[in-house]
């Protein structure tokens, strides 16, 4: 079914492309959220990545590689955005301010989410990417590797190290 949609989208079927994005974007959004950490930035990355995918769909050579191809575009955009933000030393609005602003629950559960997102902020963008794909997008490690364009062994070791750093960052945060 997905292959048919990709083929249709390649031939100019907007409906098919919309369906593809609608299916894949929510999953990728969670991975992007881990990388850029702000929902509005993640929204923007998804939209930009989808536009890029739409424009470059002709460059996708194998229809069954669509999900990995789209994820890779989005994750690359997110990593670049995160790195650029770091280089420019943009004052960050933390996730608690950004989302709390929307009037969402200020509960203890929410505070835990904020701690996690702050801990993520202490990790490199590449670490956040591998964690986001694994635990946000819920991808198996081979799919994480494909989305990042790295060998499976590299993905495994990077995931292991990133998880260790996250655990340390969370521990440090709890001690503050």
């Amino acid at each position: 079914m997905e292959r048919e949609l990709v083929a249709a989208a390649r031939s100019g079927d907007d409906v098919a492309f919309a369906r593809l994005i609608e299916t894949e974007a929510p999953r990728v959004y969670r991975a992007v959220l881990a990388i850029v950490r702000k929902p509005e930035d993640a929204q923007e990355v998804i939209q930009d990545a989808s536009i890029r995918a739409w424009r470059r769909l002709g460059a996708l050579r194998e229809d069954d590689r669509w999900p990995a191809w789209y994820r890779r575009i989005a994750v690359r955009q997110a990593i670049e955005r995160a790195k650029a933000a770091g280089r420019r030393r943009v004052r960050e609005t933390y996730i608690d301010a950004a989302v709390g602003h929307a009037g969402l629950d200020p509960s203890e559960t929410w505070a835990e989410r904020v701690d996690v997102m702050r801990a993520l902020g202490r990790l490199a963008a590449d670490d956040r990417a591998v964690l986001g794909l694994r635990f946000g997008a819920d991808l198996e490690v081979p799919d994480v590797a494909e989305a990042l364009g790295i060998p499976l062994g590299t993905a495994k070791s990077r995931l292991h190290r990133a998880l260790g750093r996250l655990a340390t960052a969370l521990g440090d945060g709890n001690e503050e």
């Binding site: 939209q47 955009q77 670049e80 996250l166 969370l170």
Partner: protein, 318 residues
């Protein structure tokens, strides 16, 4: 007391906390992907075109088409007939303005005189009626070509190819005419100021040799909307080239009288009207109209043809 909870390592706890956090935040603020909105717009575009086509007399339509094409060619795309990049027998492409200065009557900017004009204006319509980019010009010192030049027959748009090796640069100046993602994203704020221009820089495409984009919104308008000018650059990783682009963006000026139009204009603070009836009183935006006002004191008001649709209801409790 029996505890069935497995003992988790700190890594396992971190993984679980991360998964819960990401899913929770995404559920609270989900990604905005609205296929039905795309489809509605696609149908609207198609319906508008077919409706217009049916209603106009063929002769009148021909006259209008000629006038429109001539007007567009003179006023908007003065170099519509610019040659395909790389076409050896064609004259060199040009853009409105003079060497080192672009001016199409809507906006202007300066650029280094060492840059060549790689392409004049063209309409980049990729595959679908829903997506269209108007390119004002492509400048720089590198090599560039595009596969997205009215390619509806080929059905493919492989995208731009730019070679900026050796410290060269390619700059593409364009705007969205239509986009399936052309949603008003009020709140997207500038993230860099160059000269008098508060603009939005997006490095998202820089990976794998992609482009960095500076968005310049129309006065009174939003980023990401139709009419916003995009300065897309390949080669800006080179500090010298980056300085050139930043100087270009700093010199960018809209012509007087150019303002944002359409649906992406920020909503002004509404003027208020006052409701006072049946023992209930409150203020509400003057743009709202009372939709139903039954005699029992219940009433509804709102506006349904604006985004986001909003309706309110109130009832006096006796």
């Amino acid at each position: 007391m029996k505890n069935d909870e497995p003992i988790l390592t700190s890594e396992e706890q971190a993984a679980r906390a991360l998964r819960v956090a990401l899913h929770h935040i995404a559920a609270q603020e989900p990604v905005r992907v609205d296929a039905s909105a795309w489809l509605a717009r696609a149908r609207a575009v198609g319906a508008t075109r077919s409706r217009v086509g049916r209603r106009l007399l063929p002769g009148l339509a021909a006259v209008i088409v000629v006038v429109l094409v001539a007007t567009a060619a003179v006023a908007v795309w003065p170099r519509w007939a610019a040659p395909e990049p790389g076409a050896t027998a064609s004259p060199a492409p040009s853009i409105p303005g003079s060497a080192g200065h672009f001016d199409n009557g809507t906006f202007s900017f300066d650029y280094p005189k060492t840059w060549r004009v790689l392409s004049g204006a063209y309409d980049e319509e990729t595959i679908s009626d829903l997506f269209e980019v108007l390119v004002y010009g492509v400048l720089g010192t590198g090599d560039w070509s595009t596969g997205c030049r009215r390619t509806r027959t080929s059905g493919e748009c492989p995208g731009d190819q730019a070679d900026v090796s050796g410290g060269r640069i390619v700059v593409k100046v364009s705007t969205f005419v239509r986009s399936p993602f052309d949603t008003c994203r009020a709140g997207a704020s500038p993230n860099v100021t160059l000269g008098p221009n508060a603009v939005r820089r997006n490095d998202g495409g820089a990976a794998a040799g992609g482009m960095i984009v500076w968005q310049i919104r129309r006065p009174g308008g939003e980023f990401h909307s139709s009419g916003t000018v995009e300065i897309g650059v390949w080669g800006a990783a080179d500090p010298d080239r980056l300085a050139e682009v930043e100087a270009l963006v700093a010199s960018f000026r809209w012509a007087s009288g150019v303002y944002a139009s359409g649906e992406c204009i920020p909503t002004p603070t509404p003027s208020l009207s006052h409701f006072d009836a049946g023992g209930v009183s409150f203020d509400y935006p003057s743009s709202w109209r009372v939709l139903v006002s039954p005699p029992d004191g219940a009433f509804f008001m709102g506006y349904g043809d604006h985004r986001p649709p909003l309706h309110g209801a109130a009832r006096r409790l006796d």
